[in-house]
Subunit: 158 residues, 2 copies
DNA sequence: AACCAGTTTAAAATCTTTCTAAACTGTGAC
DNA sequence: GTCACAGTTTAGAAAGATTTTAAACTGGTT
């Protein structure tokens, strides 16, 4: 199965522009769902469009559900949760946990880190290169590292 | 908790050792609560003892509640939550969020980082010196950094 | 001893997330 | 196109962690 990393490696500038402008509203989402082996249902197509046609962002299940309703998409909260977890399981979404009792889903699955604004309760991406982790401990015996998260917690200056 | 029967001339070192050994079961906890301005109630003293006389560890509210019951301390879960948050607010505990839907409280408030074993669901400390963060991005305009968390997620080797 | 602000508590409420089981739908076969 | 069926969606119930409420209790002070 083809990996998703080659999505923007097209040399056809016009095709890229057309995709970004949303000229073929469902084409990208449809292709994406096919690639990851999920049946392209009405709900999944609509949620994929809301998630992936809007640039990198961090969103909660409730927020996505609200966005769907605003966009006139009829979908239950249970389906939003199901879909977010399916997208995460196939690697096109990532879950970020920084606050008790609430998960954020991140449409940016490239390696990167986060600012978390504790007062406002929102996440901002930090490019991977902006953080230099030049020494890391060995993992515990028998374990292997799956991911390294750097979370920089910030607040408004006093 | 065993009490030492004979006392020698006490140097600073001996006094330290005695405290660590728990020879004066409530003295440390009492002093600690006074220092941070919390009234030393029966419940707070007992929870402080369970938390701080056992070395650095990570514990959930439910786990602390269970530990209290096991130790014969009658305390409600609501009080456990109240107390954990009060201890956090005065800086003698730190809250660590790595999993959706559950908070860990850390008796080690010195700067350090964590391994999180995703399969087993438990935290291990990483000494601050074992991680070298040699480049960090500037915080967003108007914000200041309150803490940098490095979480190394691990799993059992395949 | 009396007082009272601070504390504890059982129970209810809240909030996010997951489960259940019945209805619905995309897909491939014919 | 119709059929069959696995996969999907859904309302509503349930779960699980945490917080709130409001009444009873208690440590510290006078
Ligand atoms: Mn999840
Ligand atoms: Mn908290
Ligand atoms: Zn991100
Ligand atoms: Zn720790």
């Amino acid at each position: 199965m083809k990996r998703l990393t080659g999505r923007n490696d097209s040399t056809d500038q016009a095709a890229d522009d057309e995709r970004r402008a949303g000229a073929r509203p469902f084409a990208d989402s449809l292709a994406r769902l096919k690639e990851v082996g999920l049946r392209p249902t009405r709900q999944r197509l609509a949620l994929a469009k809301l998630l992936f046609d809007a640039g990198d962002h961090h969103i909660t299940a409730e927020q996505l559900h609200a966005a769907a309703r605003s966009a006139g998409v009829k979908v239950s909260l249970a389906t939003v949760y199901n879909t977010l977890h399916q997208f995460k399981d196939v690697g096109i979404l990532r879950e970020v946990v920084v606050e008790p009792g609430r998960s954020y889903f991140d449409t940016n699955v490239r390696p990167h880190h986060h600012f978390f604004h504790e007062g406002r309760g929102h996440l901002t991406d930090i490019p991977d290169e902006a953080v230099a982790l030049t020494r890391l401990p060995d993992p515990p015996e028998g374990a292997e590292i799956s991911r390294v998260d750097v979370i920089i917690r910030v607040n408004d200056r006093a």
